[in-house]
């Protein structure tokens, strides 16, 4: 079931095309990572989806409707946007209670949500005294206040320590895989979400560069054969004749793209080159991510 659907979304700020014809969808019960370098257009996409920014073109729908058309938005969509969107002089509990009142939720939900994100002890503390990690937890508590079926998070791991990131992973997996919530989580660090997400959508300079499962992403990456040999250059003409592309990685180390290890081994045999290392490199998600999003 499609929970979030974005079609041909475009938004410019002055001359800058922040989001340029982006389309993707997120299904219920799955976690989708929305990845891209800083400034790629992730935040703008999410803010268009949430009705905070008006798109120039295209549609962004939650459960088939634009966000501003939702009658009780907090019970359908939860969002975590910035770590700082709290009044420092208000207590965590009052912050949630103000929202409960406006959203027509019972005030008791505030305490339940605080307990869920592990802030029950700090409920009566002013948010100004909170650490960044506590603010992120409070933001998650805010987002889940109305028990929404769709959760949208913008860089939620920023400012979390390793233990906090581990906690966040468990929190999101539980919501998506056990409770069927659709989760869309943005990040500029692939490694951060790699272990959590089912699908990835990658954006660079406002344009979509990849959409699919993590496995598909790994398949797309080229796995070069790395050769370490003092006279490695002697292999180049023969392998180029086989259609290989060559990357010089430094002192006697070459990477051959587009050929398999056997082809390279045969060239080694025929050219009688002394080789100290010959290996098919493992596909590195971070490297693929960098390739996809590299400035062109």
């Amino acid at each position: 079931m499609t929970a979030i659907e974005i079609r041909n979304l475009a938004k410019s700020f002055g001359p800058v095309k922040a989001v340029d014809d982006v389309s993707f969808s997120v299904d219920a019960g799955t976690i989708t990572g929305y990845l891209g370098p800083n400034g790629a257009g992730k935040t703008t996409t999410l803010r268009c989806l949430l009705g905070l920014v008006t798109a120039d073109r295209g549609t962004a729908l939650v459960d088939g409707r634009p966000y501003p058309a939702l009658e009780h938005p907090l019970t359908e969509v939860g969002a975590v946007l910035e770590a700082t969107s709290f009044h420092p002089g208000r207590t965590a509990r009052d912050h949630l209670r103000v929202i409960c009142t406006a959203a027509g939720l019972p005030a008791a939900r505030a305490d339940e949500a605080l307990a869920q994100v592990g802030l029950a002890e700090a409920a009566r503390k002013r948010v100004g005294e909170f650490s960044l990690g506590m603010r992120q937890r409070l933001a998650l508590g805010t987002a889940t206040l109305g028990r929404p079926r769709v959760l949208i998070l913008d860089e939620p791991a920023n400012g979390l320590d390793p233990a906090g990131i581990e906690w966040l992973r468990g929190f999101l997996r539980n919501l998506a895989h056990d409770q069927g919530v659709a989760v869309l989580v943005s990040s500029h660090v692939l490694a951060e979400v790699q272990q959590t997400v089912d699908n990835v959508v990658i954006i660079a300079r406002g344009r979509l560069v990849h959409q699919g499962s993590l496995a598909e992403l790994t398949g797309n990456g080229e796995r070069p054969v790395r050769v370490h040999a003092a006279e490695a250059d002697r292999l180049v003409p023969a392998l180029e004749a086989e259609g290989a592309r060559v990357e010089r990685a430094g002192d006697g180390v070459l990477r051959f793209y587009g050929v398999d290890a056997e082809t390279v081994g045969r060239a080694v045999l025929e050219e009688r080159v002394l080789v100290t290392e010959l290996v098919r490199e493992r596909s590195d998600l971070q490297e693929i991510f960098m390739q996809l999003t590299r400035e062109t």
């Binding site: 700020f13 905070l52 920014v53 709290f86 929202i99 406006a102």
Partner: protein
């Protein structure tokens, strides 16, 4: 809508600002009271004496001093709006209520209520000061006649409407410090000059404070001659018109803007 107004009032009363502003308001009103009571019946140089403490005119002047603190209600209104932008809580507010017109309406209603509350607090303080003063001076306390009820209503209305002015200005300017400084310069410099200098009173009577003065008009000679004021009904109309303009400004500037 009731829930949204309650939520806005909750926002106001869950931070320290409201009672700090209330204390400042009462302090300011108190100082004004002290001056008015202290100098009652005395003659400034080259002018006739002001009414003595036993007179009705004295009571009218003291009750009317309740509008002096309207600027603080305006600041409260400004902060109700600009605080949301300053701390980015506006994002959560609009996520909770994506129909932004409703948020603005709820804020205006909450501001109106807060303004009335501040007005009531000022009037109570004045009552505590004026009643014993008049009795000690041997005068007769008047509460329900002599134009006093109209002055009290004028104080309440001014306080309530200035909260709206603040919310509208805050929505327009968004920068908290710029909005507060702008409001203070307007009220203490521009309006004061326009309403105090006789040659400018033709313009000054149409400013918010000029219109407010017409609501609480007591013909006290301040040494500059009698002030040129609108009739009370026209003053009320001008004030409500200002409030409507500010409400429309608040809505138009808030509804379409991108929240980034």
């Amino acid at each position: 809508m009731v829930a949204l107004v309650r939520s806005e009032l909750q926002k106001l009363f869950t931070t320290r600002l409201w009672w700090i502003m209330l204390l400042v308001t009462l302090l300011f009103t108190g100082i004004g009271l002290g001056v008015t009571i202290g100098f009652a019946g005395q003659a400034p140089p080259g002018a006739p004496p002001t009414p003595g403490r036993e007179t009705l005119e004295f009571q009218q002047a003291v009750w009317a001093s309740g509008t002096g603190s309207a600027i603080f209600v305006m600041v409260l209104g400004i902060v109700m709006m600009t605080g949301e932008y300053r701390y980015q809580t506006i994002t959560t507010t609009f996520l909770t209520t994506p129909r932004r017109g409703r948020v603005v309406t709820a804020k205006l209603a909450a501001g109106l209520l807060a303004g009335v509350l501040f007005g009531v607090a000022s009037l109570l303080l004045i009552a505590v000061a004026v009643i014993p003063t008049v009795l000690i001076a041997g005068g007769e306390v008047t509460l329900l006649g002599g134009g006093i009820p109209r002055i009290m209503l004028g104080v309440l209305a001014t306080s309530a409407l200035y909260a709206l002015f603040g919310i509208g200005l805050g929505a327009l300017v968004r920068n908290q410090i710029a909005a507060v400084v702008g409001a203070i310069v307007w009220v203490f410099v521009i309006e004061t000059l326009l309403t105090a200098i006789p040659a400018l009173q033709g313009v000054g009577k149409f400013t918010p404070s000029g219109a407010a003065q017409s609501l609480i008009a007591v013909q006290v000679d301040t040494g500059f001659g009698e002030a040129d004021l609108l009739p009370a009904w026209a003053g009320a109309t001008v004030l409500v018109a200002y409030a409507l303009v500010f409400a429309v400004v608040a809505s138009l500037t808030t509804v379409r803007r991108d929240i980034t």
